[in-house]
């Protein structure tokens, strides 16, 4: 009986130590400046960031197996949150972080496969992942969102901002943004909806691009693909347009037909002006089809 009791005790101790290694809660709060910079790095798991009114940064985390510790340091106007893995466990530790930062902070996030979610942060956002998805609320005047294979989903409130988005294979979905947008992908799909755009540059190699929204007065709109289709519904006071496809079809609601660029080679173009002609719209593709209209 004593032997059995000893074995049970040892097993319980072993299990509890494994459990302690496998998962741990983390919580820390440090003072921070209202307009400082918060930098977060995490390999895998999740990073949720939200802005609040307090001059401090709060970090709560669920640290999975393989995570050694979380460092949270604050010095001057810079707060650093770093998930540290053991040196031999490269890219194998996962941590779910919930971070609250002063609303006007600048935010820099670097992740590998961690999913990133940001809400209510009004400072400049620079969010980078390798394969993790990025979801953010657009309330900042400037944002840079970059991922290799993850998707990017941005939702705004019509606040004017300068946005730079790039993916390699991830899809991009933007809603209710405004201002300047530069977005590029290789094979992802770009679905863009802007309340008021002053400048849009969208480029894709094989992914389809669709845009719907209002162009500001004198706005520039440019979208190009190699083989992806282009679908643009851009309401505006007016713009000059130049629409070209080498082998694809061109359809518009402009009551004009595309003309061949050469008698001997493929290629079609549609050029003209709508409304006051103050803006400029250029759509170009090699083999994709183009559909363009200035009505909803």
């Amino acid at each position: 009986m004593r032997i059995v009791y000893r074995w049970v005790t040892m097993a319980a101790l072993a299990l509890s130590s494994v459990a302690a290694y496998a998962s741990a809660d983390f919580e820390k709060t440090v003072p921070a400046q209202a307009r400082g910079t918060v930098e977060i790095s995490n390999v895998a798991g999740e990073i949720q960031v939200s802005g609040w009114d307090r001059p401090e940064v709060s970090v709560r985390g669920d640290l999975g197996a393989g995570v050694e510790r979380v460092e949270v340091t604050s010095e001057g106007n810079r707060t650093l949150i770093k998930v540290v893995l053991p040196s031999m466990a490269f890219h194998n530790g996962s941590a779910d972080l919930k971070v609250q930062i002063p609303r006007d902070s600048e935010l820099d996030i670097s992740a590998v496969s961690a999913e990133v979610r940001v809400a209510n942060v009004q400072g400049v956002q620079r969010l980078n992942t390798v394969s993790g998805d990025i979801t953010s609320e657009l309330v900042a005047p400037e944002g840079e969102f970059k991922t290799v294979s993850g998707g990017v989903r941005l939702r705004g409130h019509g606040v004017t901002a300068r946005l730079h988005v790039s993916t390699v294979s991830g899809d991009v979905h933007i809603e209710h943004a405004a201002g300047d947008l530069e977005v590029g992908t290789v094979s992802g799909t770009l679905r863009l909806q802007l309340d008021t755009a002053s400048s849009v540059r969208a480029h894709s190699t094989s992914g389809d691009v669709s845009f719907e929204g209002q162009l500001g007065h004198g706005a520039n709109f440019e979208a190009t693909t190699v083989s992806g289709d282009l679908s643009v519904r851009a309401r505006s006071d007016g713009f000059r347009y130049e629409v070209s496809s080498f082998t694809g079809d061109i359809n518009s609601c402009f009551d004009v037909s595309a003309e061949r660029t050469s008698k001997y080679a493929p290629g079609k173009t549609l050029q003209g002006s709508r409304g006051d002609g103050a803006g400029y719209l250029r759509l170009k593709t090699m083999s994709g089809d183009i559909e363009v209209c200035d009505r909803k």
Partner: protein
């Protein structure tokens, strides 16, 4: 042919100058005679069959065939097969070894671009190795997409070289390739300080 005017006369416009000047004597007969002499004394003047014995001709032909065969053998078995090869479908190939072969075209000849591109390609394999397998596969597929786009555009430009649309899209595609290589380079190092 216009006769030269008195050189001492004052010239007030180009129109007054002679359009050409006749040489003082005809030089051609002397030149022709010299050429004939030189041709007669040169071994090249003889017919080809008389210049080289038939056995030497066969030896030369055999050496040429042998050198071409060696060249083909080196090309097929010694050099890496993917450089410069056709586009590969890398979607299922997670090995990083052929990654550089996916982006082998070199349309842009600016040396700085070439240097930077070569450096990024050299580190591509190492950077891909640090990425999750799924991402690695997607990156390779994207590079294959870019390579195919480049080939399609270059093929179309071959048929219509002056097409500004294709030229612009090709430049965009080269820029995309650099962006992807740079992104992969940066992303590969993203977790290293963690």
């Amino acid at each position: 042919m216009t006769e030269p005017k008195d050189p001492a006369a004052r010239v007030s416009s180009l129109a007054e100058l002679p359009r050409d000047i006749r040489p003082p004597r005809d030089l051609w007969p002397q030149i022709a005679a010299r050429l004939d002499t030189a041709r007669a004394s040169s071994p090249l003047a003889a017919p080809p069959s008389a210049r080289r014995p038939p056995r030497l001709q066969w030896l030369a032909a055999a050496a040429m065939v042998a050198s071409v065969a060696v060249g083909v053998w080196i090309g097929r078995s010694v050099l890496p097969s993917g450089v410069p090869g056709p586009v590969r479908t890398a979607t299922t190939n997670s090995s990083a070894a052929p990654a550089a072969a996916l982006v082998d075209a070199a349309f842009v000849t600016d040396p700085r671009y070439q240097r930077q591109r070569a450096a990024l390609l050299q580190s591509l394999q190492a950077q891909l190795a640090t990425m999750p397998p799924e991402t690695r596969t997607k990156v390779l597929a994207s590079l294959a997409t870019i390579e195919k786009a480049k080939q399609d555009l270059e093929g179309a430009l071959g048929k219509d070289p002056g097409n500004a649309l294709l030229q612009e899209l090709l430049v965009n595609t080269y820029q995309d390739e650099m962006r992807v290589l740079t992104d992969v380079h940066e992303a590969g190092g993203a977790g290293q300080g963690t």
